[in-house]
Symmetry: C2
Subunit: 504 residues, 2 copies
């Protein structure tokens, strides 16, 4: 290493700083203020000009935040399963619930509706069968007649008949609920490590799958999901969806195009009934457990679907635990296809959802960018990759930050240490989302906005931060420029109303 | 905000990247390799040229690291109190113990010698009195006659007499040990939050103080500390020292100059007896609990001591829990004095040892730099302060990273999430140190080097990383350029020997 060259360069830098008055050892208060303001202006929302009314609300929020920081328990530093009741009582949380938050850009198809609804509504529908697996999970299916048995599952029982045999159905319903969510009172004991929590996580999806892929439930579930996000003041959704085979009561099955069209129909219907909502688009996803030649076929199908359903289909992604799946580079042949053929298939890759540095998985961040991804899902490892971070910033590739997901899946314990705290302080392009709210016992976006605003942002985050996060969610969405303008205008009306109602 | 301007700027950036072939969506493997190499070269040690022998050892280390990452338990993700036995069995740890590590630049006077030695050696010396406080701690004093009672402590008992009354002294010795260290088998239960762990931490120092400020013990303790670091292959120390009043058996007391001179004498003696050791310097520290006019007096004394003892005295710092103490800006009058008077008093400020963002404490990072600090102690919050981070880099102000301390004091749980992992990936100037090894049940530097190399660095850190960390510790020390050259030459001889012995 050229130590002498480095030394000279460092000396020149210090001379320049001294010339700027920074190395005198006697700080000038005005210069200090100016440096603090420079730093503050770099952060997410730091350059946002606020109206007087916005400034009043911002001051009120900071005061409330100070009170929460002074309390005996600070929710963002606790596991969400313990923090949830505290967050629910927080006046900041109520304000965030009422705040128009723009778009939810990182969500998975099987976890957008509270598990309660699945148990209380869906499992009470007629023709619902249940079986019990050897791993203490459950599987469901709707069927007009006795379904054929599943391997490694008890014989199917009609849930209605099972309930009729019981004195109280509360225990059964409660145990079903436990099978559909990770939520538990003692997460450290229930999930001693990432392997255990991921295994339970994947089991909850297998449990829900038989319920959700029944055609009538499938449509109702998505509609209900839109309702829950709408009620949480979210204006638009982008849903990563596996587009699984959907079945009817007689066992008939639908293809992927049917499923995608069903999403489109339900979204259109919902927008018709709620003109102040902007709808939803789908990012077709496949599990990263498949092999590279299977992926080639999936990408070909994705290109066909993208062409056939340009309104509802936003692009493509791979899902499942990054650390145990194959890295993007393994799939390079298939992932290069669209660009080679000159076909548009936007990518929205999960990348860097890992604590392991320097592994193949950790290479996904750079590869996602080289495959020209439109956004990065999670990007938890991005701050450990300065070059990928620079590229992501220069290319305008936003990071989809999901604080509660990263905590529950054990990437980080105290959310003040979430790496996106640094990204926010640098004004890196990012959005906040909730990943799998039903699995984590949250809902909509407000819980994750709370963690981002209070935990990641600390006393530095203010109303401008929230405003930029909401605007970012539209700016970095897959919508066309025209629809983005429409979305921004709609959001702005709601924002102005929110400010006028809360800035007294 | 000028959205349109930002949009245009982003589009130009993307065009440039496309021109460079990065946004085609079809990654060129050679370009990908080159980007990965660019990123790898930015990290700490990434530009270090390694000899063939060094490359062999590096490959061996990476193989060992892969094995540790594949194991059922990964020490850096566990609390150090549980990880310690695993680390002790790690072949990487043995290599690190044998590796010449350069200097330990962040250490506190009262915690450099294993607490075992205090119990087994010091408390067995004659004239040692003990009393028991209401808070279940202990205090000690050496005295020729019965000492006058301490408020809120039981009457003084001669330890020799107490031991004579007992069947077995093992329990007593064990309980004394518990009072002198934080180490415990169940840290989450013993220390449910930062307040509890800090309170116990400060109590261990109060317990040790009466032992260590007895003149003969004081000198022996420092000598023993040098021995322990020397045995761990450390070549030089900079010790943050409170310079407390030192007493004799008859109650006579010495002033600060005596204490500083004692450090100098012991260090000289040790170097005489160990010509391959470079000695130690002292950073005079005061607790940040004092008020601003008291600090003015302390700074004046520090300037006097700096002038009188230029060999042993390196500079000045404030200590104690940053979150509950006063921020540097509160002390600005006193801290500006040396520069105003044109007197040299180098600063080595603790700054950013906090999880709280945007608070007054969090402002210490910028202020430390504005007061022209020579290094930053901890700098845990630095990645949340992009402007202070840039300044620190440009001014060549290294961060003293103490991974185990930050974990035990509950700033971060999983050391893979330590913010210095990002700093290392950016090649930010930093050194590794152990803060208060005796309090944490570690010793020397090797445990912290293990956490930095395996945990913070992951699979990205290699032998070049270790080499640069060792060189950094000399480069960023307070030694004169002449002594730095001497230190580097001495270290290089040891390094070459280490490589030749371990690269077969």
């Amino acid at each position: 290493m050229e130590v002498s060259f480095l030394r000279v360069r460092a000396q020149i830098a210090v001379l320049l700083l001294c010339w700027a008055g920074i190395c005198s050892g006697i700080p000038d208060p005005r210069q200090r203020d100016s440096l603090m303001q420079q730093e503050a202006s770099r952060q997410t929302g730091g350059a946002m000009l606020l109206t007087e009314a916005e400034q009043r609300l911002s001051a009120r929020l900071l005061k409330l935040k100070q009170q929460e920081m002074a309390g005996p328990q600070f929710p963002p530093s606790m596991h969400f399963f313990r923090a949830r009741p505290l967050i629910q009582r927080s006046p900041i949380f109520s304000l965030l619930q009422g705040m128009p938050k723009g778009a939810a850009l990182h969500l998975h198809d099987l976890s957008i509706v509270g598990a309660d609804w699945l148990v209380k509504n869906v499992t009470y529908r007629p023709h619902c069968y249940i079986c019990f697996t050897a791993t203490q999970s459950v599987r469901f299916v709707f069927s007009a007649r006795q379904p054929s048995p599943l391997p490694q599952c008890s014989p199917w029982k009609l849930l209605e008949a099972l309930r009729a045999q019981m004195n109280s159905t509360a225990d059964l319903d409660n145990s079903l609920l436990q099978n559909l969510t990770l939520f538990t009172s003692d997460p450290e004991v229930a999930y001693p490590n990432q392997d255990v929590v991921w295994s339970k996580f994947e089991n909850t999806f297998l449990a829900a799958l038989g319920l959700l892929t029944y055609a009538p439930v499938f449509k109702d579930y998505f509609y209900r999901g839109l309702q829950e996000f709408y009620a949480d003041n979210v204006q638009y959704l982008e849903l990563r969806a596996l587009l699984p085979e959907i079945y009817e009561l007689d066992g008939a099955k639908h293809d992927r195009a049917w499923t995608l069209k069903a999403y489109q129909d339900v979204a259109r219907q919902f927008v018709n009934e709620h003109p102040d909502f902007l709808g939803a688009r789908v990012i077709y996803t496949v599990h990263r457990g498949i092999n590279s030649s299977e992926l080639i076929d999936v990408v070909k199908e994705a290109m066909r679907l993208q062409k056939e359903f340009p309104e509802v289909m936003a692009g493509f992604d791979l899902v499942g635990r990054e650390d145990s799946g194959k890295p993007l580079w393994y799939f390079r042949e298939g992932l290069s296809l669209p660009a080679e053929l000159g076909v548009t298939l936007p990518y929205f890759f999960h990348a860097g959802e890992t604590d392991w540095e320097g592994t193949d998985t950790d290479g996904n961040l750079l590869d996602a960018l080289l495959f020209n991804t439109s956004r990065i899902g999670h990007g938890f490892a991005l701050t450990r990759h300065p070059l990928a971070k620079d590229l992501s910033r220069k290319m305008g590739v936003a990071v989809e930050v999901c604080p509660i997901s990263n905590q529950v899946m054990q990437l980080v314990a105290d959310l003040r240490n979430h790496p996106a705290a640094s990204l926010m302080s640098e004004g890196h392009p990012l959005v906040i989302s909730s990943d799998d709210p039903a699995s984590f016992g949250s809902s909509g976006l407000s819980y994750d906005f709370y963690e981002a605003f209070v935990g990641l942002g600390g006393m530095s985050a203010h109303l401008g931060t929230l405003k930029e996060l909401a605007i970012n969610s539209i700016r970095y969405s897959s919508l066309s420029p025209q629809l983005k303008d429409k979305a921004l205008a709609l959001w702005q009306r709601k924002w102005d109303k929110f400010i006028s109602e809360n800035s007294q």
